[in-house]
Every structure is written in C-alpha cells, then in structure tokens.
Symmetry: C4
Subunit: 496 residues, 4 copies
C-alpha cells in the first residue's frame, strides 16, 4: 500500500500519530508513551517526515525491535516521496548548516593533520552544533573532563639514554588479542551524529590499522551492522554492555553479541544514571535562539513577536537527560559484586571487564571478584563531576595495590591525547589506553580514513616516545620512568 | 490630619526634619542623632518623599519600633499623595533602572535555568546595582569569598560502583527537624533589595520544597512577617541572632522569636564588627558618576560643572560600614564561652547553634560548651578576609577532632553551589550545608518560584551525585569517599 | 655678581661648564668627572638652566656639600631670571606632563580613597612616568616584588570567636618607642620625584598619626630638613644608613644624624650594589620615543629624520644603574659581622638594626652579634631577584629559630598592603611592619594628608582584623592564628 | 664549461635533474634517492636556480662531501648568471620578507638591549618565519620547553649579607679550560637560518668575551670553517657529536675534529630520533597560505582557484621530521654504556662528556662509566616532551647522589636566561650552564656583536647576583643558598 502526503497529514495528533521515516509510513500512536525520549519530540513530527531528526540518533534496527510489524503501514507513493525530497532540498538552510558547509570547504587535507588535538579542532568545525555539544560536553562545570587531561600533564619522564632502541615494538595485547599499538577505541555513542556512516568508520579504520574496538551498547548502528563492517571475521570487537535492569533482556543482549562474534563484555558501571551535561542539554535552545535571530534579520518569514517566543519557550520541555539520557533509562541501578558478576559468568563464557572503576578499593574488589580486566574510567568526565582523574586513580593503584596488576589486566581511558600520555599509563601498569572522543571526532571529520590517520599519528608519537625514554617494548616501560610532580605545568599551545 | 506638600517642605533642616514614607508624614528631628545609618542620609530627604530609599533596607516595623507614636504626624492629603505618585512616575529613569528593565525583558523562562550559577548570573542582571554590590561583595579583595568555592574544588571523589542505588534517600535532619535535602537557607539580609516581597519569597519557596530556613536578624521583613509567610505552622524556621550588647534587649528578642514559633537560635559570632566590603561601600559613588555622565550627555538638565561635582564629592560622607553596617552597630562585641552560652541557655529552651566557627579549636570549645550544633562559616567571606575557607575548616575538623561530630551537629556554609559540593561536605561529617547568596539571587530573579527551582536543581544534582558515588542515604556518605588533592583544578565553565 | 644668559651660555662644553640652578650660576667643570651620575647628564645642560632636572633627585644640600664655595659663582641678573622663567613657562608641554595634568583634574577626593592599593593606583596616574618607573620597578623580571605580596596571600587565619574585643589596642613599640599602629615608614628614596615637598610630607603625615619613620640616606631632602619637618622634637625618626666605604665619612654621617635627634641606625645591607631595575633604566628611552612620536605628529618643530634618531640613540648612554644607582656607588661592599657591628657600636650609642636580613642563618648571626633589631627585607624586590619573599623568611624564622625573637626585635617589610597583612606578620612574631612604596605613593598623590589617610586606612583595617581574629592587643596575636596553606589563592580584585 | 639557462632547464625531471647553486651547475639525478631531506624538495628546483633554498640549511662542504666530482658540471655563462641575479632581485617580495625588512629598520641599537629575553624578542622579529619556527619550536605541545624555564623560577635564594664582596670572580673552568663566566654556548644547529655568517658569529663573539663554545655536528658551517673563525688558535671549542651508526664514519668524524683542534667530545644521546616539532613542521604550510592570501588580494598574478590550492595541498609532502630531521637520520640508535664509551675512548684521547642526561640513574651510570663530564639536557625541550626539566634533574641529583659531582663535572642546559638562573645551577653543583637559543637569537639580530653583548649582559647579571647572595667566587655558591619552593611564582614581565 502506498500513501499520499495528505493521507499521512491527517494523523497529526496524540489521538492518531503517523510519521514518515525514509519514505515509509509508521503508526506510532500507541508507542508514544513508551518512547524513551518522551512523546513530545515525536508529536513535533506527527503527520510529517521525521527522517532528519530520527536518523542520527537511532540504530537502524530500532523500529524493527520496538514497533510491532502491523504498525509498519507501508510506503509513500512516488509523488509523495518526490515531494518530500523536494521539500527537504528547498528548506532554508539554518545558520548551523551554512557554517558546516563553509567549514567543510575550508577543511585541510588529511595528510596535513598533525595531532589528535588538531584532528579534534577540525572536527568541531565541520560537525553540527548538536553533535559538537553531545561529543564535547561533560558533567556540571566539566572539571573532571579537564582534570583527566591535566592529570597526565603532572607526570614527567625519567628518560633513559644509551639503550639500543633502533627497533621498537609498540604492540600489546588485551585479553590475549593483539593490538598494533597500546591504544583501543573506547565505547562512544552516536557516531552518526558526526558522520552518516557512523561507527562503521571506526570499525573499518581500526581494522585497517590493527587496533581493537570496544563497541557501545548505544551506538547509532546496531551491534550486527558494526560486526558486518569489520574488514575480516578475525577483526576483534569488544562489547560495552549497559546491563538492562531486566536480567532476561540483558542476557539476550549478551547472547546476541556473543553470536555476532564479539570477544569480550565490558560491563559499564559508571553510567547508571544520566550525567548532567549542561552544554548538551542547552544545545536545542541555543540553536533555536540562533535561528530566531537569523529569521528576525534575514526575514523572508515574518519574525515572531516577543510574546510568541516567550510562549514557545515556556512550553518547550527541558530534557535534563540530554541527547543520550533516554538510552540509559533502562540500565540496572542495582548491580553488585555479589550478584551481577556471577550472573554474567553464568550467561557467557566471554571474558569480563569492569568499565568504570574510579578508586583503588573498587579495583581491589573487582580483582577479588575474579574479572578478567578493569577499565579505570569516569566516562570521559560525563558522569560524576569531581571523580578523581583516571590517570590519578591508576597512579594510586600502582602505588598502593601493585598486586591488582597481577590478578587482572588494567586499562585506563579519559584524557589521553598524545603518544606520551599512552606511554605514561603503560609505565604505571596499564596494558592499553582507551580513547573515545578522538575517534568520534576523527570519523566525523574524515570518515574511516580519519580513524586510520589518528592511529598512525599515535603510532608515530608512541614509537618516538619509546625510543626517547629508552624502551624497546611495552614490557620495558616501568614505574621508575615516570614521576608525578607537585606542580601543574603551564600548557601553552593546545586549547580544549 | 492631612498635610500638603508645602507644609512638609517647610521642615527641611536639622532643626525640624519631616519626611514622607508611603504617604505618611513623620517628624524625625529628634531621631536624627540616633539613626544607625547616620543623620546625613535622612537629611537628604528632609521635607520630601523618602519612600524609595527607605523601603528596601528597613523592616516594616522599624518605624513603629523606633519612632514614638506622637512623631507619626499623619497622612498626606489626597492632592499631595497624587502629586508624589506623579512625580515618582515622571522621574527620569536612571541608567541603572533602564538596564534593569531591559534585563527583565530578556530574562529566560524559569524552566530553562539549569544551575545555581546560572540562576545567580541571571539575577545579577535584573537587580539594581546597589543590590548587586550588596549581595556579591565581600571583605577587602574578596579572597575568602573566592577561596570558599575553590576549597570545594580541591576535593575529589573516590566513587564507589556496583552498589544498589536505584532508590536513594537524600533527606537529612537538623536538630531533629527533617529536610528533603541536606541544604538549608543560611541567613542573608535585605532580600527586599532584590525583590519587593523579600524574605517571604524564600520562606514560601523553602516551605514548598521542604527545606529549612535560618532567618537573619537583619532581614528586610520582620521576624513576625516571615513567620506569617510560612505555608503552615509546621514549617520550621531557625533564627539567626545578632546578640545586642544590652542583655535585656537581646533576651526580649530571643523571647519574641520563641513566641513566633522559631525552632532554634543560631548565635552569630563572626560579624561583631562590620566587614570592609569595598564594592558595596563604593556603589553609591559609582552610580552617582554614572548618572553625572548620563546627564552630561543626554542632558535635558544642565550638566553640573566640575566645581560642583568636586564640591559635592568632598561633602558626601563615605559610609565605611556599607549598606548593612548600621544593622550590626549594637552587636555585643564581648561575648564569651563562659558568659554568653549560659546566659542564652537561661533565657531560652530552644536549641543553640554557634554560627561562625572558623577553626578547629573553637569547634572544640563550642562542643565543650554544650551547644547543640555549630555552623562553620566565615559569613560568606564578608567579614574577616583570609579566614580559612569553610570547607577546609571542616576538613581539618574531621581529620583532627572527629570526636566533635559526636558531641554536636556540624553544619557548614560558604562557597557551595553544586550538589557535589553538598555531598563533599556530608562525606566530611556535616549534617547539612547552608546557602545564602543562591537563595537571595533566586528570589530576586524569580520570586518564590525561583527559590523552589533552586531547591529542585540541587535535589536533582544531589541525587545524581549520591547514585554515582554509591550511597543510598546520607549516612552512607563517608570520609573515605573524598580526597583533598594537592593541585588546584582549572575551572573552565563557570565564572564568578 | 649677576650674570646674563649669554654669559652663561659661553660655558657650554667639557672645557668650561656652567649651569644654572634656581637662578644661581655654578661652575661644575672640575666636578664633571666626580659626578656620581656621570658627566654626560650634566653636559646636556652645559651653559643652560638645569633646575628641572636637578631638583627632584638631589637633596638641597648636595651643592653645598659637593661643590667648593668658589664655584658658586653668583646669581642670574633679573632680566635673565625672568627670561628663564618665561622659557620654562612657554616650553611645549610633553605628553607626559599633559597626561599628569589631566590625571590631577580627575583625581578623586581623598575621603573617597578606600585602600592602600587604590591610593597607589591613583598616584601612579598623577606622577611623572619617570617617578612611576622609579617607584614601581624592581629587579629583573620583578618576581620577588610580586612574590612578596603573594607570600602574604598564602597565609590564612584561624580566627577565634567569642572573645571580648569591644576595645582593641593596636599600638606597638619599636626599640621602646611607641607607635599608634604596628606599621612604620620604611626608608624609600626620592620622594620629591612624586611631590615637590618630598619626604617632609611623610614626616608630617607620620607625626600627625603617631607612627614611626625610618628615613633613607638617599632621601631627596637632607636629614636635617626632614628632622625639621617633624611636628615636635618628640617625634621619633630612625635613620637608614648606607654605610660609606670610607669609615671616617660613615662615622661623620652617623654622628650628624645623632646630633639631629634620630633615634636609631638601620644599617642597610641588602643594597651594596645597584639592582637591575629594567623599567627604571628604560624610562628615559620610552619618554624620548613618546616625544619623538608626538613631535612627528603634532609637529610645529620639524620631525627628526630616522637617521638623526638613530644617531642620537647610538650616542645616548644607557645608565644601567638606573635613577638611584649613583647614590649607592660609595656604599661599603666589604661589611662583615666581625668588623662592622663593633665599629658601629663604637661610633654611636644609638640602637642598631640590621636592615636587609634575607634568610634564617643571617637572622641568627645578627642576633648573636648583639644588634637591637633586624628588619627582614629584600629592598622591596629591587635588589636580588628571587630573594625569598620577606614574609616567608619570617615564617621560617618563627618555625626554625623562635629563640631569635627573644634576643632582638624583628621587623619585616616588603609586600604588605592590608591590615590583614600586618596582622599576619605580627602573629608570626614581628613587632612592626614596614611599608615603603605605599607612603611614597600617598604623598605623591595627596601630600601629607595622603600619608595621614594611608595610616588611617591601615588603622581601621588593623582594628577590624584584630576584632575578627579575636585579639585585644598585639600581644594576643600568636602563631597559632595563622596557617600557611599549600595552594596559591586566586587574587580577583586588586591588580598590581 | 659554461651553461645557458635553457640548457639547464632541459634537465627538469626525475630522469635528469640539474640544479644551479651559486652560479654552478650540478647533476643531482643519481643523488635524488639519497638526499636526506627527500627527493621532492630537490625536484621543486629541477632545471632552476636553488641557491636561496639550499644555502641556509647546508654546510658549505655538503656538495663536496656528498656529490661526486664528475657531477659538478661547471659554471653558468655570464649572461645566465646575470639573468639569475636579475630574476632574484625582481622577484616579488613575500610578506615574510617585507615584514623582516620593516623589523630590521625598527630594530633598536644594540646598546639599548637590556636582557637575554629582550634580545630574543628582537631577533624573533627580524628573522624569517622559517627560522623563527625552527629556533623556537619544541616537541609536541612544548611543555618541557616552558617547564625548563619554570623550573628555575621555583628556586629562590637564601641570600647572605655582611660578607666582603667588593671584588667578585665569576670565572669557572670546564674540563680545565677557563671561562670568564660560568656560561657556555650549547650546540645549536643552523645558525645561518638567522644570519648569513652563521656559527662564525657565535665563535667570534665567544672568543671576544672569553667563553667556551660547544659546536653542533649539524652546524650550517663546517667544523673546519668554525675552527677558522676563532680569534686565535688558543680559543677553545668543544664538539657536539651526533654519532653515526657506522662506527667507521663516526671515528673519522672524531678524528677530523681532533685534528681541527677541538678540545672535547660532547656525545649527544638525547636526539637519536627526530622530535615532533609541530610549529617547525607546519611552517611551510603557514607561509604558503600567507602568500596565497597575499596573491589573492594584491594580485598582479592571478589568484589560484580553490581547486588548485586543494590539489597542491594534497600533493605536498608533509615532512614530519621538520627542518633538521634529515640531519639526524644517520644517528646511531643503538648506543650503550658498555659498547659506546669504550669505543669512543679507543678512537680519541679527548675528554668525553655525555650530553643529554635526563635522570639521576643515568647520571650515576655515566659517572660509573668514567666519562669526564655530563651535560644534563633535554635538548631544549625539542625531543622528549615531558622530560623532567633540566634544573629539576640537577636538583634531584644534588639531593640524592652528591657523590656524582666528585666523580665528573656536571653541566646543565635548558631554560636559563638570567644571571640568577646561572647562579642557581652553580649553587646546586653545576660547573657551568649552557645556553643555545640565546646565542642563536643574538647572532641573528646583531651578528657577532650581539653574541658579545649577550655575554656582557650575563656577566653583569652574574656579578650582581654573586654580590647580593654573598659569594666572592663560584666556589662559594653552595646548595644552602637555594630553596625549591612549593609554589609556582607568577611571572609578570617577560613573555616567551
């Protein structure tokens, strides 16, 4: 059956709500109250095409999984589809879109990008404001975000000279799987916000360069699509599990990724409730104000009166959970060492890593619980503001409980941007260092080539640093090579 | 009896000084030398309407209490009252008033306010310069003001994961009275400077959201009016006592608030002499210069000559005590543990809290004196410049004398703005955290709704922080969860 | 005998060099090679009036003391004197003079000045660029200058409450002489650069307010003139001795000041060689460039060609010793504990204070040498760059060698600007705190009234601080009341 | 044989590549793949004059040493030489050249330069952007570059007074050779980038003022030319050896400099692989963009289209090794204490100093290996980012292993700019302090006179500091005179 636009347009209310996504018509009336993001955001598109808003923040299997088949009503007819396309094309470009297009034209060629920080700067210019705010924001005043980086800056090297380093081997392993450099992709959600191919860019870039990827439960592609994006079935993926509060649902999720060939479960324990990411939450209002101003100035359309703006503002719902808050609404908030680890051991034979250890005591508890690894992480500063910087937690763990490093593998993420950052973490006992935002930004700016380039940049920096500290392999990176100094270095070049 | 304006105008000197306040005529000739703020400020309005200057900084019972009945001469006649109203209406608006009106128009709707810091920013725009300076200023170079906040920033969390926190209880008690969150309103004076309804906004906002309020002796409403503003007689108010040097006067004050239903006495010991709040003291001159400049430019009125300005400047009295200095002129500067606590115990059965403890030794002395609680406070940095930041005093107390926390309840105020700040103080043993300026600003910008919103913001932040550090109740917040780091975090977003 | 201008003008070379000062003619030909400031500067005025350049940087007895009577040739005749006056009057005003005149017009009235820092700000605007640079500059990159102040900022109070402080006594003594507040004037040279009455302003201001003054050997008034400026013979002055390398000359100097009624000798040991005060040294070139630019623009006179400027620049001598370098060229660089203290004891019965102690070891040596007092000082950061801040030296002395405070009186100068600074030093054992620049600036901006006002400001701040830390007298200021914190406070208001 | 321009122009490709340098024609076809800087950079000039690009970054014997005689084809004919000169003269000046010419005109006369920092500021204005970036850049974010300086700032003096210091001797020795001040020239490459006479300026300036110079292997003059620039055969030069991976080549190099009269070998161990100097690497692109913009605006020549720029950008090779990377491509990366020191002892009788010690442990190993000296250095922050600041390594060495100072001489370089910096290092046990950039900048701005002036500035600062800390000779500079403070001073004047 094929629909006309006017047929769809009749269903434009809470009573009967149809939407068009990719030229298909769906009846979401009954689904409205169940929508994790709230019903209001759907009603905005009731009776209309919702593709542009839907696409970047939903995995493609979301409709199949969540909407009964009989609500998939059918296709638009040809005339309607053409009209939708025409309307989308002729829509007045927002200031944000115009800015992105300009930035895209001025983007330097990839071979000129010299560092991860430069890559991030470029990306922040070419992506949408919404993506920028979602990727870059962190909790509250973003102190932990910044301190994650400043923690690395307080570590200096005791470089060793006169050691034969003409050949240097920067490879490492995680859970027995080899990586060309001691860096892995840490799970980061919603890659499609920055680039239409989304997480597939990261998977392919990682595959090309031989590093390992931990895939987020909240990716904008499905676990299956990401698995299919691998260059070969041998390419290793890990799965970052946001455990559902319903054990059965969670178990099914674990079994699914096991079937898809994922090689480990990274149980996420640092994001059981949404963080307060103010710039992300504020983004829609900032954009709205920008457009209102543009309208008022450029004005084919009549500027709205102050009264109208005021009214709209009062009505508009503030989504304090931010862009991705809905995604973790079903996360289990009652996990415990006693209950959750044994459960997970029962449902899978895959190695288990706890992602989100934030203090020495919990690292010890994790090791005692017999997990295969821990990832020291504060979710990139996006969850608990004033969580101790990840690298400082690692430093304390090394100093206070070196035995933990013998009991399980230790990884760290948050704040690393340079090869020297990675080397510092390895000196302190980490097997590998995770990076999230760097790869999100790299794929946003240059697709999979950007991801590969990011790895190459890090590889060059890591090899240089290993030679200059006097280490031929990651094994030769030892605690004596780093010192935590008592002052905070002044950081002259790079800006956040 | 009803007066004409020209009748009043005849009494325009030190010899015979009448003023009009709210269309009533008062003979203040004999009162001139007794006026705590000095006679000059009254003489400026001799023979004229003084309502606009009088209103925001005096409690409404000030005239009844301080001026004998026979000096309440009577009303203006109708024509005079109308003329006063007309004159006030037609008065050229000052630049400051124009700025405030503009800010009021641009003020965002309350549901968009995301944090206490944002609330304060908004308020500073909509209030008068005088109010802004009175609220925001602190002693000398305002170091303790700033360090109060930076002290919190040096505390990081050792967050605990894998703990069941799906339900979290953020309630606490103070002296046995329940509060929905561990935050209370710390006494702050002159709320009417920021909003015509003044402290009543705070009382109603606190009542709606279930938190406790400590009412200042120097409020711009009377203790009775504030008590009447409560939502119900069960709503709990505490009284911040500035003890009069005359024990009899002080005793009457205590008895009065006891009669009015206040539930505890917070004896203020950190403000026995006026602090040196330079921005507050300077405010009148800044405004005067701004207006002189505006006149000179806009000039219906002829600009004054340099000589006139100079002369006026030389004559104008500099009030080194600032806006509220006069209010504490009668405070007892000879209080002591030996004398004052027993006296207070004699005159009241209410619980006693010492407000203004600034070092470990005095906390110990207070506990030994048998008080019910202590409030670690440096008066928001407004009194002794370089008083150790409140949270640092709490930190030292916890470390050096943990026994004090068993002997009396410990509260802290000064510098807290975020839910995480509150949680840090509770980890260190505080029962609750006081906030002064945040509620003054909230009521200034949005009245009682602003106050309620501030509490809601804090509640959300507190619950989020409790879940993320792994505590189901305030009891589970323990010292091991915070670490005082040796570096000062860089504070990227918020500005003071 | 009376001279015409043309008579004088003939003696305009190294061969025969006459100059006019205050309408008197001097033959300085033979004196040229002996001039401490070099001959070039004199030759610039050969055959001409030199009054404006001479006056502010020489004590009035300089000519009498240094030039034989027979070289005092006589007076200008009346016509010549009038012509000199006319020329001086009609001289095109430099940009610097115009700036000063403008600043003088805009200067606030004295009763509005609220702090020492504000006083200094005002003064820096009304004085000449040369004076500004001479007063404000310090050695090299001026680190010790700034750290002197930042050292005070690292000290916080443990304020004590509930102590009877309705009456507070801020008086102290130095060597048995009473001072109304624990602040004294520390020797500072060339007050006439900032105000025509020079050091007399300070002496009279100090006399009016009852504080003690230490007079510099290098004052721009003679020791006698300053003694005469006292309000009464009872007013106490101390003398800051720059000991001449010739013991006989030095002895005569000591005897002279003893005769004049000075009450103590402060032997200066921190300025035996000129410090590298770059802004002071550079000042003449900055002014020259400013004027060249003004000429080029405003141009009644023909602008000089680049070649001319270049030539002049190459010829102009760079005086690496700065404005006052010449004054200490005869200072004894070979003083020692063994030799100099006994010598001084022999030549005078006055108490001896060593000014310029910069470490604990030398404080101990001074005490063992039996001096009456030591003044911890690094010459306001003007001599040894990276000398430890004065207050930090005091802090270490208190901690490491408390016995020294029993053996001699201890004073400190450098960096104190607030009453709280003074109180901190007293808590650490100082009897009084010296201030140099504050009084130089105060007299520059407002003459003797400025000096008195500065004392009043400090008195108010000191009394307030004593009440708020809980001390009735300077004796009750004890080390337990201050804590040196590990962080550097952020200093929001005041700028240097 | 003499060539015409058109004859040369035929050989403009990889197949046959001729270039003109100083009016001589060379066939570099076969040399292309061997060129350390890559073939692309040569091909840019194939068939054309390459003098301007070649000259400043190659020692003059480079062609003789690397290109067989039969490839030296002969001279240009007279007409051709004249045409080349004409073309060079008429070439449109780039913005960078215009800027340099302007700066040269505005340069202050040398006698006005007051400090090393000022000298550097002036030089950065008059040199080419390429030179500026090569000289000033450092690894990654340039943290170690900045921290080298900040490390000195954390050291304060315990100045001693009352010591006879009328005569002060600032001389020291290095390996028995006398220096007028305890400062030597640390090896720094490519002086010709900043001044056409290059390293000869430094040699002559050092000779005039009596300080010692360590000559870089990578100087832009040959070791022989530099030796010839000495004022007399007695002038002492040391040689900074970048050991070739081929022992025979390295041995020949050592023997050559021994023959030329160099007095010691400084074996460089901190630069075995190129550092990541981003500003240096980026310099060509920045210049290219600047010129493209200038063309587009000024436009005699037609601006290139965006497409052309894009294409060129994609083709242009990014040289991640930077300007000097090629020079260290043949450095031995497999040196070791066991192998390399004995080898070097065998091939030379000269004293051996290890340049590039970066931690205490390696200082100990060096001393045990029996070398004559160690130079604590991190290559001016240009190699390993986050190498501990040099002065901090010295501080730790003094504290932890004072015995090393008895076994070999200890020098330090990196971050010293002031006389006080030098004195601090000497207090901590260094025999002398090396400076690299200061002398590069001094010769760039003022040739050999600039170098001499730099030494004079330092001498004055050093003598002043010695007098003011109370030391008559370098022997009297002892560890007790310096204290490492716990705070970071605020650095008000100088900027980097």
């Amino acid at each position: 059956m094929a629909f006309t636009l006017s047929q769809v347009a009749e269903h434009n209310s809470q009573k009967s709500c149809w939407v068009i996504i990719n030229n298909k018509v769906y009846d979401v009336t009954e689904f409205l109250p169940e929508h994790p993001g709230g019903s209001k955001i759907i009603l905005k598109y009731a009776g209309r095409d919702a593709t542009a808003a839907y696409e970047p923040i939903h995995p493609p299997d979301a409709l199949d999984k969540n909407l009964p088949k009989d609500k998939h009503l059918g296709d638009l007819d040809t005339a309607a589809a053409e009209q939708v396309a025409r309307v989308n094309e002729n829509r007045r470009k927002t200031k944000d879109v115009l800015r992105m297009e300009q930035a895209e034209r001025e983007k330097p060629s990839l071979n000129r990008v010299m560092s991860i920080l430069e890559m991030e700067d470029i990306a922040r210019k070419v992506i949408s404001y919404k993506a920028h705010m979602y990727y870059s924001s962190a909790a509250d005043d973003e102190t932990t975000l910044v301190e994650n980086m400043r923690g690395f800056q307080r570590l200096f090297f005791h470089a060793r000279v006169m050691r034969p380093v003409s050949t240097v081997d920067p490879t490492t392993t995680m859970l027995g799987f080899k990586s060309t450099i001691p860096v892995f992709v840490s799970g980061a959600a919603l890659a499609k916000l920055g680039h239409p191919l989304g997480e597939a860019n990261i998977t392919r870039g990682a595959g090309k360069t031989g590093i390992l990827q931990m895939v987020s439960s909240n990716a904008s592609l499905s676990a299956e699509q990401i698995a299919q994006a691998r260059l070969s079935p041998d390419q290793v993926l890990f799965f970052q599990l946001y455990k559902n509060k319903d054990d059965a649902v969670a178990e099914e999720r674990v079994k699914e990724v096991e079937r898809l060939g994922y090689k480990a479960i990274f149980l996420t324990v640092d994001a059981i409730t949404p963080g307060n990411r103010e710039r992300d939450i504020r983004a829609p209002f900032v954009l709205e104000a920008e457009e209102a101003e543009a309208e008022a100035k450029g004005g084919v359309e009549k500027p709205r009166t102050v009264g109208q703006v005021q009214k709209q503002e009062e009505e508009s719902q503030v989504n304090n959970e931010g862009t991705a808050g809905a995604l973790i609404r079903f996360v289990d908030q009652d996990m415990s060492w006693e209950k959750t680890i044994p459960w997970l051991r029962r449902v899978t034979k895959l190695p288990i890593v706890i992602k989100g250890i934030q203090c020495v005591q919990d690292a010890v508890l994790a090791a005692e619980a017999g997990v295969d690894g821990i990832l020291i992480s504060n979710h990139g500063g996006r969850q608990l503001e004033y969580s101790l910087p990840s690298i400082d937690v690692l430093y304390r763990l090394r100093k206070e409980r070196p035995d933990v490093f013998d009991k399980c593998e230790v990884y760290v993420d948050g704040g690393a941007r340079r090869g020297t950052d990675v080397i510092k973490a390895l000196c302190l006992g980490a097997k590998a260092v995770g990076m999230g935002r760097p790869f999100l930004y790299a794929q946003s700016a240059y697709g999979e080539d950007g991801v590969a380039k990011a790895v190459q940049i890090l590889q060059r920096e890591i090899v240089t640093a290993m030679k200059l500290v006097g280490a031929r392999s990651v094994k030769e990176l030892v605690p004596e090579m780093v010192e935590q100094v008592s002052w905070q270095p002044y950081y002259p070049q790079a800006k956040l």
